[in-house]
Assembly symmetry: C2
Homo-oligomer: 247 residues x 2
């Protein structure tokens, strides 16, 4: 931020509001993931939580107004305010990741990267289930990003709920989180996770940042993309050679 010295730590810009509760969840997880003894040890953040950004899924699936101009505008304003890294705690919005990266001169951490890294480091995961919006699943967000990664990432088979399960379970579950109907959301998403386990997955990725607000566990290991993005953001901010590690 112009005129304010924020010490040795870089300012991190957050493109948020997609949705608002997910952004607050990311905020809390980032603070909790920071090794700090006092306020001044924490990562300085600029969070733009603008829930009026055009609906991402409606744009991808139905050709409604694109959120890209708003996302680019927010990203540039965060950069102009001094942000040295941008993050976006919304999986579906990563459909426009390349446009965002090209619009700014600072790195943008891709939400799928720390998830794929954790799966590769975990070693034994080969059939991975995805719980995300219909748009995230249809866009192949994780598979495409993994295809650019190391051999072990390219070998992951990505499984998704059946079309009926997606329409009647996952999407209404995510909408219920946004509407504050957490009991209903938990029930719908837990059912969807159990159907993925029935398909023989050996891990489940919570690939929509609304989901970990109501679902944290299943019969197989669960990877929370919000938590992993928060941890990756803190690692980036605290390590001196950070500019070399994010492309």
């Amino acid at each position: 931020m112009q005129g304010i010295r924020v010490g040795a730590l870089p300012l991190v810009g957050v493109l948020g509001g997609m949705g608002p509760a997910a952004t607050a969840d990311f905020h809390r997880k980032l603070v909790a993931a920071t090794p700090a003894r006092r306020d001044q040890d924490h990562v300085p953040l600029l969070i733009h939580s603008i829930p009026q950004i055009p609906d991402r899924a409606a744009s991808i699936l139905d050709g409604a107004d694109s959120p890209a101009p708003a996302l680019v505008c927010i990203a540039r304003s965060l950069e102009a305010a001094g942000a040295e890294l941008l993050v976006m705690p919304c999986n579906t919005a990563h459909f426009w990741y390349d446009e965002l990266r090209q619009a700014v001169g600072v790195p943008v951490l891709h939400i799928a990267d720390p998830v794929i890294e954790a799966l590769v480091q975990g070693g034994s995961f080969s059939r991975v289930g995805l719980l995300g919006t219909r748009a995230t699943v249809a866009a192949g967000l994780y598979a495409k990003r993994a295809a650019q990664g190391p051999a072990r990432a390219r070998g992951i088979e990505w499984l998704q709920p059946s079309q009926a399960e997606q329409h009647e379970g996952v999407d209404p579950g995510i909408e219920a989180v946004k509407a504050g109907q957490l009991g209903r959301a938990e029930w719908l998403l837990r059912e969807a996770a159990e159907r993925l386990v029935d398909q023989g997955v050996d891990a489940i990725v919570l690939a929509c940042t609304e989901i970990p607000l109501v679902l944290q566990h299943a019969a197989v290991p669960v990877l929370d993309a919000t938590q992993l993005l928060a941890e990756a953001t803190v690692r980036w901010a605290l390590q001196p050679a950070r500019l070399a590690t994010v492309t």
Copy 2:
């Protein structure tokens, strides 16, 4: 925010980072306090969480560097980005409230106001205990603000922990929250609350935004300044005649 239409809802600017976990707690409480069925119903927020702002208590008590220039700079940058209301989820920083208000052309919601309003509406509260930093208590933040309020607010007697309890209980408890030592913090602050109850208070105000992270209840009604500020912010943002109500 310039260039982004955020619909009918005003943009709210948050001066945060004092401390970081308290800002995240305010963020969560504000989202949860919003009556919304979908993302677009939520209040757009710009949150500047800058934990490197000079220490507020050290400035008030020991004459260390003032945080006022940084606070004014952040407030002006939030206003320049389009914020129509500013809030600051940190009690101690309200020591510089008048400077902030004069530095910007938009209203700044004072954190003590919704607390005093709740006490007045509650009706039967006359001996109110304050749990806050030594600096907040020494500055008489709540008593001074109540003195500007209606007669019933002026009649409140404000009680505080003994000097020993403040030094050995409350201040180390707040520091322990900032250091992530939540078990120790809860123990220290619960003891301090019990000593206030022993003094015969009929309500306790959590007058430091770190405290509700570990303490929510006592043997008398507890008023959480973070929660009340979040609710007041949402009320302001959602009501059309808002400009008439905040001075």
